[in-house]
Symmetry: C2
């Protein structure tokens, strides 16, 4: 593996996979930084964006009509077949991370990855999301991006970006390559992303930003999805906060201390996060939005992995354990609706709980 040419090219060649709110704003920031030429892979919004570009109403960038990145396409570039495409310096993944629903992130991006060259930036939530990517691309740096941005796409091609774009960037550990290479990749990505309007910060240690974001995502996001309640109503009810949200946050806090020594998430941060959403916004966290739309939820890395890490370290998470089991049940229903699991009309042999009853 040669040294990465981050300083030798006039513009980084960047592929953004997942152009919803987060992906589009990432593509926009990287083009605006003037250090990147972005190819965006679009799916449901391809036709709309091809025709009239993105319309973006952005807190950071103002009102933008008809914007397009350097290239848009409908499929993942296949570098083995599309010889004219230059290797990508960065692949920026902003899809949901659905560890339990194929295809995996690694499978999706594989045709576009140049071994030993492409740095893969995962702008996604959750713990241990890098593991399958490192396993699939052992010679590539993997970058952790923890986005704090509120940006939703509705309808296709129209982005409303309401919260300042703050992105925490760190190197994920890839034990197969020198740490300095991973660090350089993450720093270069920070430079490629940074423009005047956004905040992109390099943090050497990936753990704090990931665990900190779990505080909200493993509690508000999950409970909202199960109850079908926005965060303002959860706060008005009080007992949803007292009985579920804060206990879940405290379990993340306790697990972080043991699983990631040195990561201290103070009580004050918990109390701040409980009130972080603008009350008047009646905000529906992303997992609830997905449940309402019948979409898959990304819960394995947001709650499953913290739970497994905590159990491995002897930390009990009684609230999150039950919440996790319920989310798995909700996901199972979506799987059934999408034909991924089958419900026989009669008992079939070998069914674990299939023995006929009769009250």
């Amino acid at each position: 593996m040669g040294s990465l040419p981050y300083d030798s090219v006039p513009k980084y060649n960047v592929l953004v996979v997942g152009s919803g709110g987060v992906g589009t704003m990432a593509a926009y920031a990287m083009e605006k930084s003037a250090k990147s030429a972005v190819t965006a892979v679009l799916r449901s919004n391809y036709a709309a964006v091809k025709r009239r570009g993105f319309n973006i109403d952005s807190r950071d960038h103002g009102n933008i009509i008809g914007w397009k990145p350097t290239h848009i396409r409908e499929t993942i570039p296949d570098l083995a077949r599309e010889a004219h495409i230059q290797p990508y310096d960065f692949i920026v993944v902003t899809t949901k991370n659905l560890a339990d629903v194929p295809p995996s992130v690694a499978e999706i991006i594989a045709p576009a990855v140049t071994p030993g060259r492409t740095a893969i930036a995962l702008l996604q939530n959750g713990l241990n999301i890098e593991r399958p990517v490192v396993a699939a691309f052992p010679s590539n740096p993997v970058i952790s991006g923890v986005p704090y941005i509120g940006a939703i796409e509705k309808p296709a091609g129209t982005i409303k970006h309401v919260n300042h774009d703050r992105l925490i960037v760190s190197p994920f550990c890839n034990p197969n390559i020198p740490a300095s290479v991973s660090e350089e990749a993450a720093r270069s990505f920070r430079d490629a992303y940074s423009c005047r309007a956004v905040t992109c910060e390099y943090e050497p240690d990936v753990r704090y930003a990931r665990w900190r974001k779990l505080l909200y995502n493993a509690s508000y996001n999950t409970v909202a999805a199960i109850l079908g309640m926005d965060t303002s109503r959860m706060r008005v009810s009080e007992h949803v906060i007292d009985g579920l949200v804060r206990p879940a946050m405290r379990e993340i806090q306790a697990a972080a201390r043991v699983v990631a020594p040195g990561v201290e998430l103070p009580d004050e941060l918990i109390e701040e996060l409980i009130r972080i959403d603008t009350y008047e916004g009646f905000f529906k966290p992303s997992m609830l939005q997905d449940v309402e739309k019948g979409k898959f939820i990304e819960f394995e890395n947001i709650i499953g992995e913290p739970l497994r890490e905590a159990e491995k370290h002897g930390v009990s998470m009684p609230t999150l354990k039950v919440v996790y089991a319920l989310l798995k049940g909700l996901q199972w229903k979506t799987m059934e609706a999408n034909g991924l699991v089958e419900v026989p009309r009669d008992c079939t042999p070998g069914m674990k709980y299939g023995k006929k009853g009769g009250r």
Copy 2:
């Protein structure tokens, strides 16, 4: 308080409050026993039943067209104002027990209760349901009825009764009157209910039947309501059973041992109950049916009281604690929909979690 005249009257004067599936079949059994004259208080089905009676398709009693109990009425009899009404020997309550939503059972039946005479039979699920009734009517016997019956009303006045009517009857403890009076009331009620087609059993100790029924109601019933899943799908998924239903049942089992010494709910019973519903029935437990209809759920006595009793006795119920908090959240949503709680559009002073945020 004189002795109860259960043997001195030709027929017991019975008031049935709550004429859905369970209430109608109770009224039918008591009239059929020929020992009771039943007045049924009907609400949403009053007009339909007044016009053409009940149509009952019963596993125990066959097909019955146009049946009416001795009297039907729309309101609770007010004995102080309706002087022609004889005192009731039994008031049979088959409504849901909504401890958290007024009016209470005691408030509902109060105008029809003759102190020192009327025995109040609660054919309802859950723990400690007798406490507010004993407190409100200290001189009256209170009878525990644990029904094992599958009977639903749909549409109004039409009952489908699919499972054999088996009713466990016991005296609830009322410390203000001699135990023998409570026991005699329960035995008389058993006689008043018993006819050839149904099974009505007297058990001296109320605890076993109540805790045993909690095994199912605190697990399948509650989890189905939260997930919106029938019990067959829960079984096909397997992990909903392994991660939620069985753990909840084991917590009830462990609590029963400590809270109600002598009540032993064996492992085999748990495994039997997991498979108790006919798989082909894709059965939706009552709490799920209520959630789907936007009705209040009776969760305080089914899960709240067992939880409080267990905590009092130092038994931890980690699964049921979270399930309880979630059900309380679901109930809160129904309360909002019914105008019982208010959601301000803006933060109001004194709001516990009202401080404005902003990410």
